[in-house]
């Protein structure tokens, strides 16, 4: 009779808006590579037009953090920041072990935890409200992992977090939004979504080569 209740989320944890999450990060970003995915792609693109921004869109859901790991290992002197979603993170939790094992000191992995598959209409992710991502990251071997649900505390901690020797894991409790799936079209407002995935990859490679 009450079976349906098991699929509902009762979570009264405070939350950040997407702007409260990304804006302090954009203000502090210097020359790091930013790998964004899913609902964070356009949101980040509205705040940044940097040549080292990369949209992991029209690609393979669940693997943005592994691509970011590869860049971080290839360019150990450069910071790499991955803006991942919670649904994407669940698809490849094992990659947390790989990242920790590789000791990518220059990698920060953010997980925007809105507990839903936002781009398909905010269906609950499995374990919505029950999964503690930052505890999982610690258990996988991350030397530093944080969880924030307060905007001020998050912003006040960000400078310190960005100076830590990674890999660093940060989950941020976010309000569910209403972003549609990221597409790659000439008409996109976000410049880094206007080219094909292959063109974007090759442009990023060239930009990294030029900055070396």
């Amino acid at each position: 009779m009450f079976d349906h209740l098991s699929s509902l989320t009762f979570n009264f944890e405070p939350m950040l808006t997407q702007h409260e999450f990304l804006s302090p990060l954009a203000a502090r970003r210097t020359d790091q590579v930013i790998v964004s995915t899913m609902s964070l792609v356009r949101a980040w693109g509205r705040l940044s037009k940097h040549e080292l921004d990369f949209a992991f869109a029209d690609s393979a859901m669940g693997h943005a953090q592994s691509l970011a790991l590869g860049i971080a290992l290839a360019q150990p002197q450069r910071g790499v920041i991955c803006l991942n979603g919670d649904g994407s993170m669940l698809m490849s939790l094992g990659s947390l072990v790989t990242i920790a094992q590789c000791r990518a000191r220059n990698l920060i992995l953010f997980v925007a935890q809105n507990n839903t598959y936002e781009v398909t209409g905010n269906q609950n992710i499995p374990g919505a409200g029950a999964v503690d991502f930052h505890e999982i990251a610690l258990a996988c071997g991350f030397p530093h992992a944080f969880h924030f649900n307060d905007a001020r505390e998050y912003e006040n901690s960000l400078d310190k977090i960005m100076q830590l020797q990674g890999p660093v894991f940060v989950s941020v409790r976010l309000e569910p939004g209403a972003e549609p799936p990221p597409n790659r079209k000439q008409t996109e407002d976000t410049p880094y979504l206007r080219g094909s995935l292959a063109d974007s990859v090759h442009r990023l490679k060239e930009a990294l080569r030029n900055e070396a």
Binding site: I71, L73, T98
Partner: protein, 175 residues
């Protein structure tokens, strides 16, 4: 016969910087050697899809990676391959060990019947490997002896010239 020494020599001739993958019985000896190799960085992943995305990132960052997985892992990770190396047009060689190769019937059936995938004496992952490589547009070469290792170089050169991933299927245990 395939030997770790000759396979490693081939990797080094190609200036491979990283091997990303998961071991199986037929590649175990190679993974043991790679773990101690001073020139090639070994990244062992938890699931094969990670290997394609990590290799993509390494290549973007200026490195020269190679992926080394079993055919079961290839089948598991099709979307990761499609959405990274293939769609991104990244020239990486994927070495795939051919579990079940010796169980394959000859000649291979042109059309698979349900029984072809359930017979106890045939490893169905072997049955599906080459049709899958064709379906996923991943050109490949078959290697089962040291004398054929130049095919890895050929696969590497094809990947570079066509800006695409290519595969080499390892049909023998590397000793």
């Amino acid at each position: 016969m395939l030997t770790t020494r000759r396979v490693l020599e081939t990797f080094k001739q190609l200036n491979i910087s990283h091997v990303v993958g998961l071991p199986d019985n037929s590649t175990a000896a190679l993974f043991h050697e790679l773990a101690d190799d001073p020139d090639i960085y070994l990244i062992t992943v938890t699931r094969e899809g990670e290997a394609f995305a990590t290799a993509a990132g390494l290549w973007i960052g200026g490195q020269n990676p190679l992926v080394l997985i079993q055919n079961t892992g290839l089948l598991e990770s099709g979307d990761a391959l499609r959405g990274t190396l293939t769609r991104m047009r990244i020239p990486v060689v994927v070495l795939v060990s051919y579990r079940g190769y010796k169980s394959l019937p000859t000649p291979a059936p042109e059309m698979l019947a349900p029984d072809d995938l359930s017979r106890r004496e045939v490893d169905s992952v072997a049955t599906l490997l080459e049709p899958t490589l064709h379906a996923w547009n991943l050109p490949y070469e078959l290697v089962s002896d040291n004398s054929e290792l130049e095919k890895i170089q050929a696969a590497y050169e094809r990947a570079q010239s066509e800006m695409r991933p290519t595969a080499v299927v390892i049909a023998e245990t590397i000793r």
